[in-house]
Symmetry: C2
């Protein structure tokens, strides 16, 4: 058998590649930030005009690399660098090999940051570009995915994109309306997705060799430990719920305090107690991020308040206990005040462990790059958490300034991005070497 | 001099008038409730399509009575029953006499009731109809006003209509945008008002003989005392303010509790403490009716919260002391939590005493009708409170079921409406008798 390995790049040439690629990733994060649904803020919502602009931009970069690019039925943007075809002098034997998938999400929260999500997509793209530029023949397809909806802002349901890949989209979601009454299915059609063909998005286990999501940490741990990168061991479990307090609206000037059934006062008491509850359980975070007050008029006693509760902990048992306690207290507060309490909806997501082999390979790449391999668990949900239940999945966290995320101040350094690229490229080539068929030597291109 | 007094109606005929008029007032309240900006709710906002429908309807009733009807530059609907002209066999001498104004507002809160405001307008109209039907020549113009904006829902500023009548509309209000960004001036123009000619709305003291606003109580006092009607001695003072807590948005899963600067937790603590503060001061009512959370997304720690504070007390000193304490506590809560606090806006409205002579005449009419004259102060603001600083003004409260207002359950009985009509008609004819020129005897029509 012939050796089809690409010419290894020299060290010097490689460093230059990485530095240039990192600079380009940073520039592209800035450019993507300009694709926004709210001028002056970073805001890209599911199937929105800004997301359309973002896709146009990312697609142009993907295609310029020589990769194929397609929108799947769920609205995910997917670039693919196939192994060389038979006849190509670099051909490898396993053309149909399972893919290495690298990616993250392209949507953001309202008034979010430039790096949450986008960075992972652009790192995947940069790796494909390095493969092309260094003429490295990978023995597997390298797939870069920009997931369409991780934050769940528009339809109040996160992970639409990654759930489509594992065939886990309830039909009811498609009928769900956004704030303007547009059903999800209609939004998806306008975006040229196809709600009737979601089944075609589903990946089989044999399609996926490994899946890596690079992402900013969104917390302070790496910065506190002075580490640029960390391997994510798993993700905390997550309780989400929608709570409703129903009191009675009334005139703010005429109803004496003792006759009131003020839904906002009940909700406020709950929020204060929830904060105390969370402060008392190590590792627990509890948040009320969304509040709807009805009728929300200055001179009317609030008649109804709906809250979104978000509760996370690495230990499922601790999380569930805290969740039950919170719901119990909400009910008691309502009863004591003569109000009605309803738990409108809840969702429990168990904690997840990422793939040991895949994470171990990431860790080796970090060590090989001369760095300390930090390990940490993720307090945030990620597309990788959804996918980890089905495919060998790992996550690489990049240090972010002050642990700030979901905020315009979100920041990551170009140097850390370069380090991440170096480590990820090492991961890619190590994986290539380990999966290439017998006798085919894949270059461990030093860059 | 000739006696131009109208033929007095008989008692029997009169009772029938009142009963029929009360029934019609109730029917018209139902009809007006169907003019709504939100199907299934009562909601008529300033210059909205529903307000346009309401004006069309009320104008048709006014004009059917033979009154003149006009829209003033501020969007108030004004019907006028002039004294008989010279040459008319019922002519009285003082054609240019100051007017008796009876009215209230036609706008409502979101998801409000059928009677708040509308009832007072329709009672005024019913009195004009009784005057016409009983052929009673009043020596003064009887003016019925439907004020355009008392609640202040659309532009967050109440009393636009009555403030226009006293020349107290700040220019800045006209540029203020509603939730959709439509400036007030544009909304008014679309409604065929004229923001450039607001000066023409202003009434001079010599234009107004007396002003009466009939209104549902919106509180439980009359019902508790088993009284159908009450004369309002004055209105409580009113502090209003817009408060802002600025913390830092962050990811709900990754920022540990102790690192958070959650604006909603601060706001919730303030709301709970405000409730406690109000409960500790007799007669004080304090409300946070409106809350805006930014970004208001389930998985983002709230970065900013704006609240509307509403605080009322009959004693100005007590109210101001409580207001200062509330603002002080808001600042302390913010400081303790490492947040920024801003008092964005405040408005202090002093308590008001209604006109003693005018209120006394209302009270006499109640006694003459064989009822106990209940006296109470108003916890709500009203157009009459604005006008009382400029014209001899009185308010008549009607008992409402359970003290409920600003709510779909708002209710008033037809019997109480009939009683109010009887009392108000007596007030009108007494006033006519006392103001008719020497020698002209105005019928104290018994109805």
């Amino acid at each position: 058998m012939t050796n089809h390995a690409a010419t290894p790049a020299t060290d010097a040439r490689g460093s230059q590649f990485v530095a240039e690629a990192a600079r380009q990733v940073m520039r592209r994060c800035d450019q993507l930030a300009d694709c926004t649904d709210r001028p002056g803020e970073v805001c890209r919502l599911f199937c929105s005009p800004a997301m359309q602009s973002a896709h146009t931009l990312v697609r142009s970069w993907i295609e310029a690399t020589g990769m194929s690019c397609r929108l799947d039925a769920a609205g995910n943007l997917i670039g693919r660098l196939d192994p060389p075809k038979a006849g190509d002098h670099r051909a490898v034997q396993n053309e149909q090999a399972a893919a290495l998938i690298i990616g993250s999400h392209l949507d953001t929260v309202v008034n979010g940051g430039k790096y949450d999500g986008a960075l992972g997509v652009l790192l995947g793209l940069a790796l494909a570009e390095i493969a092309v530029k260094t003429d490295t023949a990978l023995p597997f397809p390298l797939v870069v995915i920009g997931f369409c909806e991780e934050e769940g802002v528009r339809y109040q349901e996160p992970y639409f994109g990654s759930r489509a890949l594992v065939g886990d989209i309830p039909d009811a979601w498609l009928r769900r309306p956004d704030a303007e009454g547009v059903p999800l299915a209609d939004a998806l059609r306008t975006f040229r997705g196809d709600p009737d063909r979601l089944a075609e998005c589903v990946l089989r286990p044999e399609d996926v060799l490994a899946l890596v999501e690079p992402h900013i940490e969104q917390g302070p741990t790496l910065e506190d430990r002075s580490l640029p990168l960390g391997v994510v061991t798993g993700a905390v479990g997550h309780s989400r719920a929608s709570l409703e307090f129903v009191g009675r609206a009334g005139h703010a000037g005429t109803v004496p305090m003792q006759s009131r059934r003020d839904a906002l006062c009940a909700a406020a008491q709950f929020i204060v107690e929830l904060e105390q509850l969370a402060a008392g359980v190590a590792g627990l975070v509890a948040t009320v991020g969304r509040v709807e007050v009805l009728p929300n008029v200055a001179n009317v006693i609030p008649g109804e308040v709906r809250l979104r509760l978000d509760l996370r902990h690495a230990e499922d048992r601790d999380r569930l206990a805290a969740f039950r306690k919170a719901i119990e207290r909400a009910g008691e507060i309502a009863r004591q005040r003569g109000l009605e309490f309803n738990l409108l909806w809840e969702q429990q997501q168990e904690s997840v462990q990422f793939d040991a082999a895949c994470s171990g390979r990431l860790e080796q790449a970090i060590v090989a790059a001369g760095l300390t391999p930090g390990r940490l668990s993720s307090g945030a949900g990620h597309d990788a958490v959804i996918l980890a239940r089905h495919f060998p999945t790992a996550m690489l966290f990049l240090r972010c300034a002050g642990g700030i995320s979901h905020h315009p101040d979100e920041a990551v350094s170009e140097a850390d991005v370069a380090t991440a690229l170096e480590v990820l490229w090492r991961f890619v080539t190590d994986l290539a070497a380990s999966t290439a068929p017998d006798g085919v030597q894949v270059a461990r291109t030093k860059i």
